[in-house]
């Protein structure tokens, strides 16, 4: 068994592309090896700022020999056909075997050397590598993410001979650009390679780089009684920008802490890729962590000082924006929104604000919030889009609006509603919980969905350019997690759009959400089919129905429902079912008992549903089980007496109808 080691050494690969590139390399090589029938024990890839690396262990040095059977002409086929077959198969007639009147040839194919196969598949993969953006360099024709400089390719400790765009594969790599020796390093295999890189100040594994960043940064903070503010996205990015991470603690002017902490953190993160640092009280401290890509001779003093100066210039800008923005009332920025197109077919941002304002007022009543306050918050919710700070940091939309509103004297609930109205933006972001905030957040999302549906921009397949699925999921989560009632049809009725397709879209999104949480999506269908538009009630009923169907009564009733359905459809095939009004049967006793149970149940189930006591409705249905079972046991539906048959069929229809008050059991699967 042998090992393959491949390194593609280039100029700096954008950090955001590295994980994807490692995955693509893994996938493509695994697929090509499988196609070449080369099994292996393990295949690992690594990505860093200047290299993509692949190590495959446990490869055979040669493909297995293969014996392939090929079907030939029938026995007694014309001479010509036989000769042609023998020629293409490369065997003599004596070697053929006959089965069921057909000749078969067995063709032996010797396995090729694995190294030969690798010399073919690597150039193919490299030439067609799916970088999100790629370029050519110099006189070259290869498209790579940035200029490619070296290809290290060893199989079984030998260089695999091939070249790509003038770069011959070798057993050489390079270490850290500044800290390394500068000379190419010769390696013999993966472990040697990894160790040689480490000796030349390159950490191969991104997870290891992350670990070192966290450890180093935390230690530096701890020494001064501080803690680093964790930021996984930033950590990922920074780990893709350094080969030899050296976290340094820097200082900043405490005066900047007068800015909102989100502003300080965002400026650090987006402009500088620094981590924020908190004090013992959990609030931002006047420090930051910068991760250098080398251990400098002076211990990083110059780097930390330089980083502090740049940050200070950035925060001065932010301070300038903050003061400029505060000088103008948010309300006055509505004028600017009149000049901002929301969407060519949907008018300006100001028109959108007006729609949200109306919806927010209506939804506020449903959430038991103050409609006037909701309308006020909705009116101001988008004004921060016209501020300098949000122009600079779009991710602070909403948050800045909240700060500016509070600073300009809005009541705290209104400011919070402005701040939170985009939430939740992802499946893990908490939902707003204050009634006023819920109202504005729901109105914002409902307007997006209704507006884009009205112009034919409903999501299709993987296309969802306006993130409407995320908006619908946000609505559903706000409703479910707060346990509030949002009658969708009422909301749609109050909007200026017709809402076509919106209810079905919500049903679909709810199904996805409940399925992700382990619920049965067929039950969502079964409940949704009744035309309910109350997300909370639907979700609750799905849960109750699920428990009911898991129990013995439920399972049996479902079986009875299906049995009744089967009989009805079997009878319907024979001819139109008799139109019969269910009458009190003469006998037998089992039929009479079922009749009485069904007729008594109808009002009972209705009443329970009226009172929104779904569990009671279902347990009422459970009383049907004994008479249904007894009926099927004792009574022949297909009575020779026409009137009897008609009445019994009507009785079964009655059973299905009364059950159908609670869910469309025909949609329940399993």
């Amino acid at each position: 068994m042998a090992q393959l080691l491949l390194e593609l050494f280039s100029e700096e690969i954008p950090a955001r592309m590295q994980d994807g590139a490692a995955r693509d390399l893994q996938r493509l090589v695994a697929a090509e090896l499988a196609r070449a029938e080369l099994p292996f024990d393990s295949l690992t890839t690594f990505a860093g700022p200047r290299r993509l690396t692949l190590a495959v262990d446990g490869l055979p040095v040669r493909q297995a020999d293969r014996a392939e059977e090929r079907k030939g002409p029938r026995v007694g086929a014309p001479e010509q056909a036989m000769a042609g077959f023998l020629r293409t198969a490369g065997v003599s007639q004596e070697a053929l075997v006959e089965r069921d009147g057909v000749w078969f040839a067995t063709i032996e194919r010797a396995g090729r050397l694995t190294a030969e196969v690798i010399a073919e598949i690597v150039p193919t993969i490299v030439r067609a590598f799916p970088w999100p953006k790629s370029m050519t360099s110099g006189w070259g024709t290869l498209r790579w993410v940035r200029p490619l400089h070296r290809i290290l390719c060893l199989f079984d400790s030998e260089v695999v001979p091939f070249e790509i765009d003038g770069i011959a594969a070798s057993d050489l790599t390079e270490g850290h650009r500044v800290m390394g020796s500068g000379a190419p390093i010769r390696v013999t295999g993966f472990e040697d390679y990894r160790a040689a890189l480490a000796a030349q100040f390159v950490v191969l594994d991104a997870d290891e780089r992350k670990r070192r960043i966290l450890e180093g940064a935390r230690a530096a903070c701890r020494a001064r009684g501080l803690t680093m503010v964790d930021d996984d996205g930033l950590l990922n990015e920074v780990a893709g920008m350094v080969e030899w991470p050296a976290p340094l603690l820097g200082d900043m002017d405490p005066a900047f802490l007068a800015l909102p902490p989100e502003v300080v953190r965002t400026s650090m993160r987006t402009h500088q890729r620094y981590f924020a640092v908190a004090g013992e009280d959990g609030r931002l401290a006047p420090h930051f962590v910068v991760v250098a890509n080398l251990e400098a001779a002076d211990g990083g003093k110059l780097i930390a000082a330089g980083a502090a100066r740049v940050l200070s210039a950035r925060l001065k800008d932010a301070q300038f924006f903050w003061e400029e923005d505060l000088a103008k009332p948010l309300e006055s920025r509505l004028e600017t929104l009149k000049g901002v197109t929301f969407h060519a077919k949907l008018g300006t941002m100001f028109e959108r604000v007006e729609r949200i304002e109306v919806l927010a007022g209506i939804i506020a009543t449903m959430m038991e919030a103050n409609p006037a306050e909701a309308a006020q918050a909705a009116r101001l919710a988008k004004t921060d889009l016209a501020t300098a700070m949000v122009g600079e940091f779009p991710e602070l939309q909403g948050i800045m609006g909240g700060y500016y509103a509070a600073a300009q004297g809005a009541n705290p609930a209104v400011a919070a509603a402005i701040r939170d109205h985009y939430r939740p933006q992802g499946p893990s972001e908490p939902v707003p919980t204050a009634p006023l905030s819920m109202a504005v957040a729901l109105a914002d999302k409902m307007d997006s969905i209704l507006a884009f549906f009205s112009i034919g921009e409903a999501p299709t397949g993987s296309r969802d350019p306006y993130a409407l699925r995320r908006a619908a999921l946000g609505v559903i989560r706000i409703v479910l997690e707060n346990g509030v009632t949002l009658p969708l049809n009422d909301v749609i009725g109050h909007s200026q759009f017709d809402g076509e397709g919106v209810a079905a879209f919500f049903a679909d999104r709810l199904k996805v959400l409940l399925r992700d949480r382990g619920a049965r999506h067929d039950l969502v269908d079964a409940i949704f089919a009744l035309g309910d538009d109350d997300i909370l009630r639907i979700a609750k009923r799905v849960e109750i129905l699920s428990v009911f169907l898991d129990g013995e009564d439920g399972a049996n009733l479902l079986a009875a429902y299906r049995r009744a359905g089967n009989i009805l459809s079997a009878e319907a095939r024979k001819g139109p079912l008799p139109e019969a009004i269910l009458r009190r049967p003469e006998g037998p006793a089992e039929e009479l008992a079922l009749y009485e149970a069904v007729t008594a149940l109808h009002p009972a189930v209705w009443r329970a549903l009226e009172q929104d006591d779904y569990a009671a409705a279902l347990s009422a249905l459970a009383s049907l089980r004994a008479p249904v079972d007894a009926f099927f046991e004792a009574v022949l539906v297909n009575s020779p007496v026409a009137a009897e048959r008609a009445n019994r069929l009507a009785l079964l229809t009655g059973v299905r109808e009364v059950m159908g008050l609670t869910a469309d059991f025909a949609r329940v699967s399993g």
Partner: protein, 296 residues
Amino acid sequence: MALSFQDIILALHAYWSERGCVILQPYDVEVGAGTLHPATVLRALGPKPWRAAYVQPSRRPADGRHGDNPNRLRHFHQYQVILKPNPDDMQQLYLASLEAIGIDPKLHDIRFVEDDWENPTVGAWGLGWEVWCDGMEISQYTYFQQVGGLDVWPVAGELTYGLERLALYVQGVDNIFDLAFNDPQGPDFMTYGDVFLENERQFSAYEQEVADTDMLIRQFHDMEAMVPRLLAARGRRGQPLVLPAFDHVLKASHLFNLLDARGAIAVAERQSYIGRIRDLCRECALAWVKLQEAAA
């Protein structure tokens, strides 16, 4: 001791001159970026190798702050290097150029951060990085892929050093106008402010408040109309007058920037202006490439 502003330029000139670059003077037509010098934008096209370096004063009228902002200028200097085809060791060459102006890569954190460059007014784009020194962007580094909508091949590598920023960093100064322009120990010491502050004040006022927009619009149309005429005209050797035509594109582009700074261009018109300049630029690029190929 830290280099003065002019010593940085002289050091870069010496460095790139030793590496085979033609050291050019700034182009004498107003431009918004060093890339627009025909030595870059036109010479990047076609099959001929080319190496050049020059300082280009760049004018961005909308950035004018009357000399009041310590970090912002409407007229600043870019040091521009174009290497076509880009050599294999271009990154090393660049890093060594930083050493030549006193930035030691063993003491500073030099980082190549993804930043794909694009200039829609000349239909150009490339892949590359912003180069950071201890978190500050000091250069733009690009492998040109297209100019004027045409493929650049062989590929040209472009380096743009922001000279004022670089000097702020090298000299450890916070205000551009306090930069040492020449030797601070010498008897004739001048700061950057001594040389350029009054220019910033007067031109900010001119560009943002006084420039006559009707006249600028007229001039824009004149420049625009002249480009196809020059491309249709022929010189003594039967060649189209691409270089004069391109000058007119540059002038049109600067007039557009002035109009923009005067707030005379509505949001809806902006794209149309940019598109017109891009189309003119593309015509020049096409004519230039044809000329190069005919000569080759």
